[in-house]
Amino acid sequence: MNEDYTPSITLYNKKNSAGDTIVQLEGDLDKAGLEQIKEEFEGIINNIPDGKNFIIDLTNLNFINSEGIGFLFQVHCTLSKRNVRVILIGPNKSVEDVLHVIGFHQVVDIFPDFNSIK
C-alpha cells in the first residue's frame, strides 16, 4: 500500500468570525479511510457548539464512495438535531459527481469555496 492509499484528517483550528468549526479532509474517504478518521472526527463533532456551522473542506479529497457519504450523512443527521448546519466546500469533479449521483446535494449544501457560502 502506498502512502496515498490512506487518508488523514487535518483540523484547521480556524474558527471564522462567526465561530464556525472548519475541518479539512485529505486523501481517500473509502472504507479504510473511514476507519482511520472516524474516532477523531467524532471527537471534533462533540465539541461543536450548537447553532453554529460545521464546514468540511473537500478541496484535497481525492475520492469518496457511498460508505463515506453514509458517514457524512450520519454526521449531518446528528448535528442537525443540535441546529448545526453542515456545509461542504470545494469538492473536485469526481467527488462532486458521486455526491450528486447519490443525491446528497439535496440534503446538504455544497459550495465551490468559502466565499460562495450562503
Partner: protein, 382 residues
C-alpha cells in the same frame, strides 16, 4: 528467619537437612571424643531413627501430599475432566504452583465462554444469511421480450446489495439496490426494502409510486442513517416499453447494437432513506430501446473494486468490457465474461463491498428465449 522459611519449602527442607546432618556430625564427633559403648550406640541409633522419621514425615506433609493434590487437579484439566480450585494460604513454591493453576484455569473459563458466545453469534449469522439468501432470487427469470441475467456476491455473510424480478400482469419490475455498508445492519434494511417493493407492486402499476412509497415507509421506520441506492425498471411486455426510476444509484449502461458502443444514462433521483419525502426529487423516465440493445446495471462494488496495487476497476473498464462482450454474447455470456474480467483484475485483493451485475438484452419478438435457468450466484470458476 521464620518469614524467610515460610516463603520457601525448599529452603525449609534444606534447613531441616542441615540440622539433621549437624546432629549426626555432633554425635559422631562425640563418639570419637568419648569411648564407644553399647548404650551410646543405641541412643545414637534411636535419635537417628527419630530424626529420620520426623524428616520424612515433614517432607511428605509439606511437599509430597500438597504436590499430589495439585497434580490431581492438573491431570483432571489435561484429560478434560472436571477440576476444582486449589485452596491454600501457602506462599512458598508449592503455593505458587497452586495459585498459578487457579489463575490459569480462571482465564481458560473466561476464554471458553467468549468462544461459546462467538459460536452462538456465528450460528445466528448463518441463519440470517440463509434468510437473506432465500429472499434474493436464486435464478435469473424468463421475461417475454427480454433476456435477463444477474449475478451477485456479498462481501460478508450478509450483503447490502440486492435485486429482484417481480412480474405482475403485463409488467415486470426489475430492481437493483445497494445499502450503505454490508453485514447485518445492511442485510436488515435490504430485507425491509425488498418486502416493501413486493408489497407496493401489488398496489401500484408504475415505478414512481412504488419508489415514493417505499422511501416514505423506510424513512419512517428506520431511525438509522442507512440509505439505499436503487434503480427500479419497469418492463411492459405488451407495449415493449422500458421505463425506470433512479434513486441515487450508479449510471445505467446501454449498449447500442447499431453502433456497437455504450452510452451511460444518469439514474438521477436521491437514495432511499435520505429524505422523508422524495416525491419531487425522483422521476419515472423512458429508456428507448432497439432490438439487440443491452442494459447493464451494476453496484459500486464492481467499479470500486481494487487490485493489489490499489487501482480501481472503474466505469471505464466496465464499459470496455461490455462493448467487447456484448457483440459476441447473450446476457449469460456477457455476465460470465465480465465477472471473469473483474476477477482477473482484483485477483486476491480482499472483497470490500458486495458485487452485483445485471445484464438485460431486448430481443423483442424474435422468439428468442433463455436456453436454461442460470444461478445468480457469482463464482470465479472459469
Amino acid at each position: 528467619m521464620s518469614g524467610l522459611l515460610k516463603k520457601s519449602i525448599i529452603k525449609r527442607l534444606f534447613y531441616y537437612f542441615a540440622l539433621f546432618a549437624a546432629a549426626i556430625l555432633a554425635i559422631i564427633t562425640g563418639f570419637f571424643l568419648n569411648d564407644l559403648n553399647e548404650i551410646n550406640i543405641y541412643v545414637f541409633g534411636a535419635a537417628l531413627l527419630i530424626f529420620l522419621m520426623y524428616f520424612v514425615w515433614v517432607y511428605y506433609r509439606e511437599v509430597v501430599f500438597p504436590l499430589e493434590v495439585i497434580l490431581e487437579q492438573m491431570k483432571a484439566l489435561l484429560t478434560g475432566k472436571d477440576y476444582k480450585k486449589i485452596y491454600t494460604r501457602r506462599m512458598d513454591e508449592i503455593g505458587i504452583i497452586a495459585h498459578f493453576f487457579n489463575e490459569v484455569t480462571r482465564s481458560f473459563e473466561k476464554v471458553s465462554m467468549d468462544i461459546k458466545e462467538g459460536k452462538r453469534m456465528l450460528n445466528e449469522l448463518e441463519i440470517a444469511a440463509q434468510l437473506q439468501a432465500d429472499i434474493l432470487p436464486k435464478a435469473s427469470p424468463k421475461v417475454k421480450g427480454l433476456l435477463v441475467e444477474a449475478k451477485t456476491r456479498p462481501a460478508a455473510e450478509l450483503g447490502g446489495d440486492n435485486f429482484d424480478f417481480i412480474k405482475r400482469k403485463e409488467n415486470t419490475f426489475i430492481y437493483i439496490g445497494d445499502v450503505t455498508g454490508h453485514g447485518v445492519p445492511a442485510g436488515l434494511v435490504m430485507t425491509m426494502v425488498n418486502t416493501l417493493i413486493h408489497t407496493f407492486v401489488e398496489i401500484y402499476d408504475n415505478a414512481y409510486d412504488i419508489i415514493v412509497n417505499t422511501n416514505k415507509q423506510l424513512k419512517s421506520r428506520i431511525k438509522s442513517t442507512m440509505f439505499m441506492t436503487m434503480v427500479l425498471l419497469k418492463w411492459n411486455e405488451m407495449s415493449n416499453k422500458m421505463t425506470f426510476v433512479g434513486s441515487g444509484h450508479e449510471h445505467i449502461i446501454i449498449y447500442r447494437a447499431s453502433s456497437g458502443t455504450c452510452e451511460t444514462v444518469k439514474s438521477g433521483g436521491i437514495a432511499l432513506g435520505m429524505v422523508p419525502d422524495n416525491s419531487k426529487l425522483v422521476k419515472e423516465k423512458e429508456l428507448p430501446l432497439n432490438e439487440g440493445d443491452v442494459l447493464v446495471l451494476y453496484s459500486d462494488g464492481i467499479t470500486e473494486g481494487r487490485n493489489m496495487s490499489g487501482e480501481m476497476y472503474t466505469l471505464e473498464r466496465l464499459l470496455k468490457a461490455v462493448e467487447k462482450f456484448a457483440t459476441e454474447y447473450d446476457p449469460d455470456g456477457i455476465v460470465h465474461h465480465i465477472a471473469l474480467d473483474y476477477s482477473k483484475f482484483v485477483q486476491n485483493h480482499v472483497q470490500d463491498d458486495d458485487v452485483t451485475l445485471m445484464v438485460i438484452k431486448y430481443v423483442g419478438n424474435t422468439g428468442k428465449e433463455k436456453a436454461s435457468i442460470s444461478s445468480t450466484k457469482w463464482s470465479d470458476e472459469q
